[in-house]
Amino acid sequence: MPSAGVLPEARPRYSGWMLFALAVAALVLVPVVVTVSSFADVEGDILAHLTEFVLPELVGNTLWLVIGVAIGVSVLGVSLAWLAAMCDFPGRRVFEWALLLPMALPAYVTAFVAIGLLDFTGPLQTWLREDWGLTSLPEIRSRGGVILVMSLALYPYVYLIAKNAFSTQGAIALEAAQSLGLSRTQGFFRVALPMARPWIAAGLMLALMETLGDFGTMAIFNYDTFTTAIYKAWYSLFSLAAAAQLASILILFVLVAVVFEQRSRTRMRYGAVGRSAASRRIRLSRALAGLALLYAGMVLGAAFIIPVIQLALWTRDVVANDLDARYWAFARHSVLLAGIGALMVVTVALLLVYAGRQRPGSAMVWTQRLATLGYAFPGTVLAVGLFIPVAWLDNWLIDIGHTGFGFEGSELLKGTLLVMLLAYLVRFLAVGFGPIDSGLHRITRNIDEAARSLGSGTPGLLTRVHLPLLRTSLLTGATLAFVDILKEMPITLMTRPFGWDTLAVRVFEMTSEGEWERAALPSLAIVMAGIIPVILLTWRGDHSHG
């Protein structure tokens, strides 16, 4: 009897792979459980203060913000997507990818540039006042201002996904509608738009998750939402419980968005139609084409070109002074943290993808989905929700250390990068998981079996087949995670150990003092890094078309 065999009948019920996937999923659930359970330990005064003075304003502000941004990104995203995917106008080829560029600008950068430019003391108002005597420009530091800035920063989410929907199904749908006697406008509203609704909804929900989770912009505008309130409770009230309670309410808002997003994704799968429409674009009249160019140009100008130029001008003014050793320390910390974080994300994502390959089934699919849900959680929520359990663990370990080993310190894990890196992992796991998962899906099971029938065991399969084939996917996942962590503000701000200031932290500190010029230099570095994923995105888009 040969000895080197497997016993297919005796496979264990639970496996290491499934346990690993469950552990990652549990990590996502920890912040939810922790923040919700904070209501068990109510501090009377603070809760009363919260419900009476803070909550009504927060809920009102959040609702207005969500409604405003939803309208803003939908109008901008859908109209631009229609123009780029279905119509022909001068410069359309450039706009098609250039309209994604605002993704490179974190909303907080757009925000402080907008304020710096449009504020009462800013260049535009000064010029209008002094040369024209105009004083009645609407105040930028307002609800409308926040909504405008967030819409300009986040419309690419809707634009990207709606453009794909229109270009895969728009032309056919429109031709069918026209053959049934509808005009082009009627066809758009009655056929193309309803067909693309799941796509638009999915993009919209992503934009709203970003809105709910945004901290930097709200801080710059001094517009109080849950994220800033959590931060204040954390630092000003020094009440972990209050911060956790606020976080749990914010999670409710986010979960609504998650449910809608997941539902739209399911519908997208059913609604998918092949075929590209590239050859059958709508020819716009001269006047309309001019208007389209003007409109797209204005959006791109306001959302990307003007902010970047302004950043460059400000940077030129301060670069001589600010480009010092401290700046390089910020940059080094940013790169180091983003590097470690990206490595963690890609490693865990690869293992999670592999787990799905090894133990397929609906239980695994659900576990994977749960494990990658962290992208929806605001950074402030993750900071609070992961700090608290780590602090518990720390105290417990220290107790043991005190009694058992005569340990003297008061911190073991709290002062380390642990909380921050865990929070990065939870928040950005999906960013790494997506490309690696689709990469592995392209490697058919037959390829695995071919390698095995040619004598490769599992290690050979991994090193000789999977890793070479997944190289691009791994690199894409790592790059996306790297840049996202580089841009990340609230987690870094709230959980960084002493001395770990990054570029984003520097931006926060300078903007909270209104020093826009000095925030420009670190921002420009972040923006430049942020352009890489946009290039990856367009490059991948091109490939999927070819």
Binding site: M1, G5, N446, A450, S453, L454
Partner: protein, 355 residues
């Protein structure tokens, strides 16, 4: 190369029996074919032999070594069984030479290169070593897949529907080529297909599978001319069943005349001439068993006809109303409804008891 033996193998997925009591022997150096409609279990059988699926009962032996038995299987990577997949499953990141050389680990660089060159030469792709799979046509990819599987000199080659994604013309040419290649490498090979023309062109031995069982394991010639049961008769080739009456143990009478030959009808009391006599049977008539003969007094009406280029396949209505098929050279173009003269030319009498 080695002999392959399946001995009473069974396999099931979640209550559903996929293979039941599968037994056959494929002699060393021969090419075998598992033929059957989709869902008959032939691909599962292949995957068991390759080491990707466990079996429930029975055992599988390659060259005398047991590789599968209930509760145990030798891992695929240790079997030295080559597999050619339906979609070829070439490694997209490796060029043709590296694909072919994938299984040649452990060999010296020079030996590896020699073997790669030898195989590319054998499959007629000597000039394509540096190309990548996506730069090749379907037929070329197929040949790379075969070369890759042959390279480590496996004990056995398995091919799963090897020509199904190619167009018909290429299919026939390639199946002859593949047989040639396999014979030159003197490999034992088992091929799974639903296409009997492929099976006929390739195989020394073929088994018709149905409901997870082998209905008949025989030479392709015998499968066609001496089918063991109605399923094999129906699945392999075309034909029609007409009723007849047994006269004695070497004669049967049908409405077109008396057929001479061995009557392989099992009788309850075999050897008893009295009992066999007047037994009602159904006789299989292949389209080549009925020959068009203008001088014949036997007439049948053309009910339908299908033009096949070199010949017509006529569906004929016999005087009793029963139907039969006849393959006639295509310069005999008769209209539907016309009565034509026919004559029997039956070499192998196949008769089944009436049900």
């Amino acid at each position: 190369m080695a002999e392959l033996v399946l001995d009473a193998v069974a396999q099931s997925y979640a209550e559903r029996q996929v293979i039941a009591d599968l037994s056959f022997t494929l002699p060393e150096g021969t090419i075998g074919c598992l033929l059957g409609p989709s869902g008959c279990g032939k691909t599962t059988a292949l995957r068991c032999i390759c080491g990707f699926e466990p079996i429930r009962t029975g055992e599988i032996r390659i060259g005398g070594e047991i590789v599968n038995r209930p509760g145990w299987m030798l891992p695929a990577e240790k079997r030295r069984v080559g597999m050619v997949f339906q979609d070829y499953a070439l490694f997209p990141h490796l060029n043709v030479a590296d694909n072919v050389g994938f299984g040649l680990r452990g060999a010296s660089r020079a030996a590896r290169q020699t073997r790669i060159d030898e195989l590319l030469d054998l499959v007629g792709l000597a000039g394509h070593a540096g190309q990548f799979p996506h730069q090749l046509s379907g037929g070329q990819q197929q040949r790379v897949a075969l070369a890759r599987a042959l390279a480590p000199r496996p004990r056995l080659i398995l091919m799963d529907e090897p020509f199904s994604s190619l167009d018909v013309e290429l299919r026939e040419r390639l199946s002859i080529e593949v047989r040639d290649i396999l014979k030159r490498e003197a490999t034992t090979a088992l091929i799974v297909t639903h296409d009997q023309h492929e099976a006929f062109a390739l195989a020394d031995w073929a088994g018709v599978m149905h409901d997870g069982r082998i209905q008949q394991w025989d030479t392709p010639y015998n499968l066609y001319h001496e089918p063991a049961n109605r399923f094999v008769a129906d699945f392999v080739g075309q034909g029609a069943l007409v009723t007849g009456e047994v006269i004695n143990d070497h004669q049967v009478e049908i409405e077109l005349g008396v057929l001479d030959g061995h009557i392989p009808v099992e009788c309850d009391a075999s050897g008893c001439a009295e009992c066999v006599r007047s037994c009602r049977v159904e006789v299989l008539l292949r389209p080549d068993d009925i020959i068009h003969d203008e001088d014949s007094l036997l007439l049948a009406e053309v009910e339908n006809k299908a033009f096949r280029g070199a010949e017509f396949l006529y569906t004929l209505k016999l005087p009793s109303g029963q139907r039969a098929l006849s393959l006639v050279p295509s310069h005999h173009n008769h209209a539907i409804g016309e009565k034509i003269g026919i004559r029997l030319a039956v070499d192998h009498v196949v008769a089944f008891r009436c049900e």
